[in-house]
Amino acid sequence: MGMEGIGARVTRKEDKRFITGSGRYVDDMVVPGMKHAVFVRSPHAHAQIKKIDVKGAQAMPGVIAVLTGKELKADGIGNLICGWMIHSKDGSPMKMGAWSPLAFDRVRYVGDAVAIVIADTKGEARDAAEAVEVTYKELKAVVDAVKALEKGAPQLHPEADGNLIFDWEIGDAKATDAAIKAAHHVTRMKIVNNRLVPNAMEPRAALGHYDKGDDHYTCWTTSQNPHVARLVMSAFYNVAPENKLRVIAPDVGGGFGSKIFIYPEEVVCLWASKKAGVPVKWVADRTESFLTDAHGRDHHSTVEMAFDKNNRITGLKVDTVANLGAYMSLFSSSVPTYLYATLLSGQYNIPAIHANVRTVYTNTAPVDAYRGAGRPEATYLLERTMETAARELGVSPAELRRANFITQFPHQTPVIMCYDAGDYGASLDAAMKAADYAGFAKRRDKARKAGKLRGIGMSCYIEACGIAPSAAVGSLGAGVGLWESAEVRVNAVGTIEVLTGSHSHGQGHETTFAQLVAGRFGVPIDSISIVHGDTDKVQMGMGTYGSRSGAVGMSAIVKALDKVEAKAKKIAAHLLEADEGDIVIENGALKVAGTDKNVPWFQMALAAYTAHNLPGGMEAGLKETAFYDPTNFTFPAGCYICEVEVDPETGVTEIIQFVAADDFGNIINPMIVEGQVHGGIAQGVGQAMLEGAYYDPSGQLLTASYMDYTMPRADDLPSFKVSTSNTPCPGNPLGIKGCGEAGAIGSPPAVINALTDALGIADFTMPASPSRVWAAAQKH
């Protein structure tokens, strides 16, 4: 639809402010009288708090208040919760340990907050934080989830015997065991999915402002879902009732899941603002982010994949231990269960699947959703296993996959999901062509002559996005519905404001959402504004995660636009003395089809607001609201191919090429979609080759800054070859599947499949840092 509508590569409307330094992030906010907060944090992974002495700190220059967990508790501030109930296979509910926003009796990971210091400057607050005397009695710590389940392991929460949060299963154990027993071949693997730190470039921040005159709170926070933050802080943490609490997520510098959750700091800043009588701003430094942002992944699994004599998969059995850290973060329980095990069928026809998942407390940072959340873990497990199976069976990895592809839709898997549309062969063909897969052998031989080891690997991923049908997730334990809201306001001069519950923190909603409206009404994109991120402006919303903004958020806008269009046509028909059914909207005007009679868009809007001449009984104004609840998940899928070259002398592994062929359904703005894929691949390659969060056995985080945690840099990565071949999603009005997470989901197994191919080894535990690759090459 034209230069600015659906499908156009429109440059982003929001860019102007970012490229000129005019973005407004939480740390840029200034409120009169604002003071600065620093949190006192536990240096121990596990300890009892014997005493907290704040007197010395209170007497320091510039200090306004030093507050502790006892005071917080006395004021009735609630414990942090996990909002998704999972029941163990014995029917018992998950064991949620108490998580006070400020620890008062016991600390359970390095970084656990024990007090807040508020002072005139951040420097003074930090000076005073060092003067808070906390007496700890150290306890033994455990950081490894498998070890935490062992007898005699240090116990974290009285609520969770043996540190076990839940022992959950999905699928048909009997049928799966039978398939394995009867199999012609079984591929068995142990799979580790390494722990990651999300590392949005903007550190988390919160500014709490209690207005005494109005008895009203405002919280500026780095959130992907300000409405959820308000709901949770109001309903569960007892900060303030919703009508007295405004949450604003202004420009947010990346999230990747880590900014979904409601953390202790925003709760404490709001409470402390009232307590201390000043607006309180806290901004994390990077090491604080490493210590306290929810981490991602950290699974230990075993897998058995059964094949018949025709190389068809007959069964898949998975056992997973997932580390959830010291406390259950907001959606932590859903990640290794319904976002993980439900995707274990991948792109394949698998008649029997069974997965058992145990989640475990350890003395580490809480673990929750990070880009992909569960789906990268499922994809890595499955695609590493497929690759290994192909090698064991002596068949081509591509053909083994192709032979097992699902080709008929809809397809009901044995693990809940019903795939609605896809063409997996098309993505595989596109990727192999783009990668010149056929020419690989020649390239490998040439590299070998130069002393280098080349390998190629692929990954055929599927994910479930567009989360999610509220009734379905409700039946699975979710504490919230996962619809989205939209409000479309056509102003009296025809300009349009779209209020959305989706939040943009890099995804470009201000452009893509405007494209949708521009295309629909033929009005200039500059006359459309997208409003988001403020609970006072947008009535309610569920926010941005799970690649849901397009499939769910835009669908809500479509619904509201339908209503606007219907009313606009009624007004136009009245003005043009025509039949409502004959009105069409084209190029910014409402026309009587087949005639030259028309009323410009802005005149129709003006008529709606002057209300001088409206159809009988019609209300003035032109503003419509909609809530859209999806009917199914969406299922983006694709094929990624990675080619690597290893220098065996040093272990340095270079990515020679990375190809992504995705099926995202219909696409609003290809430029933005490609950008999402690039970024996702970088994070996936980061997981495979560079990143890993490591604790020492005492619970100290060894990778707590960029000196030790390897972030992907420009020279670690190649330019990517990306393409799409799309089957529209039948489940939503725009046919969108979503694209935000695919890159991070599909890429790690492609990289490790290529690396193990290059080295000629069966398995390799991520990340493929030079020293680890060199060590693996020595053993070989």
């Binding site: 330094g21 550190p203 970088a682 990565l717």
Partner: protein, 166 residues
């Protein structure tokens, strides 16, 4: 406390600051120039890059007092009025940013990089020169594209001038 005097985006500025004040905090908190960001504690992410006396530096690793007497240019100071700097324009044109947080530092690094390489840039050089700037959103693909495009655009724009001067 130190009395400092420096030029910020073409304007002479005087202030009295705590000696421990970093240049980035002076710019953000005293001058209200919040386009310069802080993304790490270890001088690695580059979100804070500004130009001091014509060279890209990390304003998180320099005291405001050290900059006294210098000329500082920030992201807010590189456009020519309403006309974007060619690097700014290229970042928009090539979708070289997503969340925007690293972007000011990227742009300041890129303008410095381009000026140090009048002979032109290739992909490998751009990637190597971006060592001190971390982006988590873009995978660098479009940042590299934008810098290469800006480099070309700027060399085209400067060539006729050079001829005239010759």
């Amino acid at each position: 406390m130190s009395d400092i005097s420096l030029s910020v985006n073409g304007r002479q500025v005087r202030a009295t600051v705590e000696d421990r004040t970093l240049l980035v905090h002076f710019l953000r908190e005293h001058q209200g120039l919040t386009g310069t960001h802080v993304g790490c504690d270890t001088s690695q992410c580059g979100a804070c890059v500004v130009h001091v006396d014509g060279k890209a530096v990390k304003s998180c690793s320099m005291l405001a007092a050290q900059a006294s007497g210098s000329t500082v240019v920030t992201i807010e100071g590189i456009a020519n009025g309403a006309d974007l700097h060619p690097v700014q324009a290229a970042f928009k044109e090539h979708h070289g940013l997503q969340c925007g947080f690293c972007t000011p530092g990227m742009i300041m690094t890129a303008t410095d990089m381009i000026s140090r390489h009048p002979e032109g840039l290739d992909e490998a050089t751009v990637r190597a020169e971006l060592e001190g700037n971390i982006c988590r959103c873009t995978g660098y693909h479009n940042i590299v594209k934008a810098i290469l495009a800006a480099s070309q655009a700027m060399s085209k724009a400067s060539k006729p001038k050079a001829k005239k001067a010759a």
